[in-house]
């Protein structure tokens, strides 16, 4: 089942999401990228109702891009999170709401800090040091409580992420096979192989 993790460290945010696109009990695709690069220093992992996810992610992506074109500089992570949250909260009380869970990770160039936001389909948004969505979260959050260190180096952060992925693979019945991992730091976003 869909699972995504994210954690902050010293000057970076790691965002990871599984790569399966499933329909009912069938895996349709095993190399789906569910982490969008919203701007030079902003990542968004999305999961939830198929259809809603891509639709909403693209809506966010284009609005963030529009802001950047109009105003010469991109939205800061906190402002982007507020805007996305508001979109979901307004959608919730509309006739057809988006059912999407998000992890928004960014590096704020103005304050030089990594920021991570946990956002659910209701429009609940909270800044956290680490976060997870999906069934994997029941295993990963307790591991992260034990092993997360906000001052950890990138190697240590990736090792912690590896622990989460391994634990989910070991204990979750419907565990996903592969993950895509992206990092955002002062130099921007990049993908890494675990």
């Amino acid at each position: 089942m869909e699972t995504s993790f994210a954690l902050t460290g010293k000057g970076y945010v790691i965002v990871a999401a599984d790569t399966t696109a499933a329909r009912s009990i069938v895996k349709m695709k095993v190399d789906e990228d569910k982490i969008k690069e919203l701007s030079s220093h902003l990542l968004m992992a999305y999961s939830g109702e198929p259809g809603d996810t891509v639709q909403f992610a693209e809506y966010v992506e284009r609005n963030i891009r529009l802001y950047q074109i109009r105003n010469l500089y991109p939205l800061r992570p906190s402002a982007a999170a507020s805007w996305v949250r508001r979109s979901l909260a307004e959608s919730l009380r509309s006739r057809n709401s988006y059912t999407v869970s998000l992890l928004l990770g960014g590096y704020d160039l103005a304050t030089h800090t990594p920021n991570l936001y946990w956002i659910d389909y209701l429009g609940t948004s909270v800044e956290v040091p680490f976060a997870a969505h999906g069934y994997g979260s029941y295993f990963a959050l307790s591991l992260l409580d034990r092993y997360h260190d906000p001052e950890a180096s990138l190697e240590e952060g990736l090792a912690t992420l590896k622990r989460c992925i391994d634990e989910v693979s070991k204990r979750l019945v419907v565990s996903p096979g592969k993950y895509k991992v992206k990092i955002v730091d002062k130099d921007g976003v990049r993908e890494v192989e675990l």
Partner: protein, 263 residues
């Protein structure tokens, strides 16, 4: 002949000019001076008040409004002070608009509006009145002294045509040419707020019609950064604070100045 192209703001004259806008700018160049200086750790604004008369009831303005607004200095948002020159009623309407825009940005993005974005939004509105039919442009120039995390301290100027530009030190209103050449001579790139206050007051005292400075003719505001609160701090001076400041800078009116006393 020019008359034929005067009445409509939206029509170019044969020489390619928009007369109404030029007239609006002319009106502003007779208004009270507003002067701004950008320092490395803040921005300083000063304005000359034109309306003085002992019958004018100012008791309502004693306390200062939202953030201690004056006649020509307004807190547009917690991170931006605006100084206006021109038609007061037009200015009030623009200030209202700016405050609403800033609050809507706060509502939508949970952050103080970036200074340039606020200037842009006002200019979009001003420009609209130079193009859409039958209306008069805003007879107002503004100085925006602000802070945002993108570019730290900033000073912008916008005019009735909807043009805006960023400045290290500038001046609008009466005698702005004199003031600007004075500023050009005396401005240093790494000036501190403390020195900027002195510079602003010195230039003001030279450009204003009256020989002496006092709180009845001067408005003053400073934007700095409050390290403790991790937020910009906008301060629009109260009349008593202006007099105290002038005294400490050695520019206060002298006791023998009876002319000022009688007015």
């Amino acid at each position: 002949m020019a008359r034929r192209y005067d009445s409509r703001t939206t029509i170019f004259s044969p020489e390619g000019r928009l007369y109404q806008i030029e007239y609006a700018m002319e009106a502003i160049s007779h208004a009270g001076t507003v002067l701004g200086v950008l320092a490395k750790d803040g921005v300083v604004l000063a304005a000359e008040k034109r309306v003085t008369g002992k019958l004018l009831d100012l008791s309502g303005a004693k306390e200062g409004g939202y953030g201690g607004s004056g006649e020509k200095m307004f807190l547009l948002n917690s991170n931006v002070i605006g100084g206006v020159a021109g038609i007061t009623s037009d200015a009030n309407s623009l200030v209202n608009y700016a405050r609403t825009v800033a609050q809507q940005h706060l509502l939508q993005y949970n952050e103080d509006i970036p200074v340039e974005l606020l200037a842009q939004r006002l200019c979009d509105m001003k420009q609209g009145y130079t193009q859409y039919g039958g209306l008069r442009p805003f007879g107002v120039s503004l100085l925006y002294a602000g802070y945002d995390p993108h570019y730290q301290f900033q000073l912008y100027h916008s005019d009735p045509s909807g043009n805006y530009s960023g400045w290290k030190a500038t001046c609008i209103g009466a005698n702005n040419g004199t003031a600007q050449s004075l500023l050009k001579q005396e401005y240093k790139d790494d000036i501190s707020v403390k020195d900027a206050i002195g510079l602003v007051l010195r230039v003001m005292s030279k450009t204003m019609d009256s020989t002496t400075l006092g709180s009845e003719k001067l408005e003053f505001a400073v934007l700095t950064y409050d390290e403790a609160a991790k937020a910009p701090k906008a301060k629009i001076y109260k009349p008593s604070e202006i007099d105290a400041l002038l005294k400490s800078e050695g520019l206060a009116k002298k006791d023998e100045d009876t002319e000022m006393k009688s007015t």
